[in-house]
């Protein structure tokens, strides 16, 4: 992983860092290191320890659960709306998920020790705005997980594909996704043929256009209509998380 300083990147590209109170920003920004996250990089093994927390800006991370037989499925995604390392600051020992980079890009990382110091700074009085934000993000992450469970149980591959495309799109600046159908199949824990079939339907309906390794979303609203309600539930949790902060800041 390369640590790069560049004028193109800013802390504000991550929604949690964007609303850090002044004093917190002053303390942390010397230690928030811009890093490049290449596709497929494993940031944390299952049951591994995180040495850093990560605030993605343009990268998207995927929390996968890997079964005994090697099959895996995505439990939740983490993009510019969030942070990787909840189990660390919440005092859990390890996470059962493996975390990989699903969409290459950048993010900021912070040493685990510094994250813990900041999180525990307010001690018994939990008045810290940063703390509150991280806790609310934890709730949003848990909502994603429980929604993934019910989606896996009840919803069709096509609905799940729509949900996944929309959540990913929300984390990207454009309507173009660089990803193969094979990788998406791995995310959703279904066979590649199932994704090909579902993507074919969406393409014929004019909602997406697919060429090898790239998906362009042509009709976002159309995708939303085809997605299961899981997309709306998760999106609302993210909106709620931030809107409270924004209203307190007068945004």
């Amino acid at each position: 992983m390369l640590a790069i300083m560049s004028a193109r990147h800013s802390l504000g590209q991550n929604h949690l860092l964007a609303v850090l109170p002044e004093q917190v920003l002053e303390r942390l920004s010397p230690h928030l290191e811009l890093v490049s996250m290449p596709l497929g990089e494993v940031l944390c093994e299952s049951s591994g320890q995180l040495h850093y927390v990560y605030f993605p800006t343009t990268a998207i991370l995927s929390l996968h659960y890997v079964m005994e037989d090697g099959a895996s499925a995505e439990i939740a995604g983490v993009g510019n709306e969030g942070v990787l390392g909840v189990s660390l600051f919440m005092g859990g020992n390890t996470t059962p998920c493996q975390t990989t980079v699903q969409t290459a890009g950048y993010g900021y990382r912070l040493k685990a020790r510094l994250m813990m110091e900041e999180f525990n700074r307010t001690g018994g009085r939990r008045s810290g705005a940063f703390n509150n934000l991280l806790l609310r993000y934890t709730q949003a992450l848990m909502a994603q997980m429980s929604q993934t469970a019910v989606c896996n149980r009840h919803h069709s591959v096509e609905q799940q594909l729509c949900r996944w495309l929309l959540l990913t799109l929300d984390r990207l600046p454009s309507n173009e996704l660089t990803i193969t159908q094979e990788l998406i199949a791995g995310m959703l824990g279904v066979r590649r043929e199932g994704i090909m079939e579902a993507a074919g339907h969406l393409q014929r309906a004019g909602l997406i256009s697919y060429r090898r390794g790239h998906i362009t979303v042509l009709d976002r609203l159309g995708l939303e209509k085809r997605a299961c309600e899981c997309y709306r539930v998760v999106r609302n949790e993210f909106h709620r998380l931030l809107s409270d902060v924004q209203s307190r800041k007068g945004i």
Binding site: T95, R126, R153
Partner: protein, 235 residues
């Protein structure tokens, strides 16, 4: 060091607190009886109380329009209902429904938020339990992608056994349907399968685990993983 309190059954999250901290909470905690099928909170409704089960058992159910509910976590004496409040959110995206009748210690949201803000040790225990809950949710998400209904039923029965600390308990087919996210016919098939293998007896809603080791072997390995995490966390 935590003291063993005199309640016949205790909530281990609370027991992990030093005595003085527990005493402070005690005045706000009210013992209540929870009954099978009772809904403690629903998605989108403000959570009014937090609950620390002692010998009751509560399921967290994720809902999907037009489908059975799906059990995503089980909360017994090791945990707490109302985690969203500890995370600064007033309602939950899941439903909390009582699966096993029994007692719990209850506290109003206002009292809880007040106590929680001031008590670093309570925060630590609740945050740690939140990680356990996240591990359960993770397991449920993966389990529902890959595992068959008989294996999931076995897992759910074992998780119930561990929390109610008995091999006999009451579970209607309807409730099981909501746990497993399958319709009645699916529940019946799965239960018959486990019964034919002489792992359980199931008669008019009364379940008896006849062969615990056999049931563990029939369960998907999600059972062992979630149980293992709880053991590690409490060490």
């Amino acid at each position: 060091m935590p003291v063993a309190y005199q309640e016949p059954a205790a909530n281990s999250l609370l027991v992990a607190l030093p005595r003085k901290d527990y005493q402070l909470l005690h005045d706000c905690l009210e013992p209540v009886m929870l009954t099978f099928g009772e809904v403690l909170y629903r998605p989108g409704e403000p959570i009014r109380h937090v609950y620390f089960p002692t010998d009751s058992l509560v399921s967290l159910l994720a809902l999907a329009e037009g489908h059975q509910a799906l059990g995503v976590s089980l909360v017994g004496h090791e945990g707490m209902l109302g985690i969203p409040l500890a995370l600064g959110v007033s309602d939950s995206p899941v439903c909390a429904m009582v699966q096993g009748s029994g007692m719990a210690l209850r506290m109003s949201s206002a009292h809880f938020q007040n106590e929680f803000q001031q008590n670093a040790l309570l925060q630590r225990e609740v945050h740690r339990y939140t990680c356990e809950l996240m591990a359960q949710l993770t397991q449920s998400a993966a389990c529902n992608r890959f595992h068959r209904v008989e294996a999931r039923l076995a897992r759910w029965l074992l998780m119930t056994r561990d929390r109610v600390r008995s091999n006999q308990f009451h579970l209607t087919q309807d409730f099981l349907g909501n746990m497993l996210g399958v319709r009645r016919v699916g529940v019946t098939r799965a239960a018959v399968d486990l019964r034919q293998r002489k792992l359980i007896s199931y008669n008019r809603g009364e379940i008896s685990i006849l062969d615990g080791a056999g049931l563990e072997a029939a369960a998907c390995h999600c059972y062992r993983i979630v149980r293992g995490m709880h053991v590690v966390a409490r060490a």
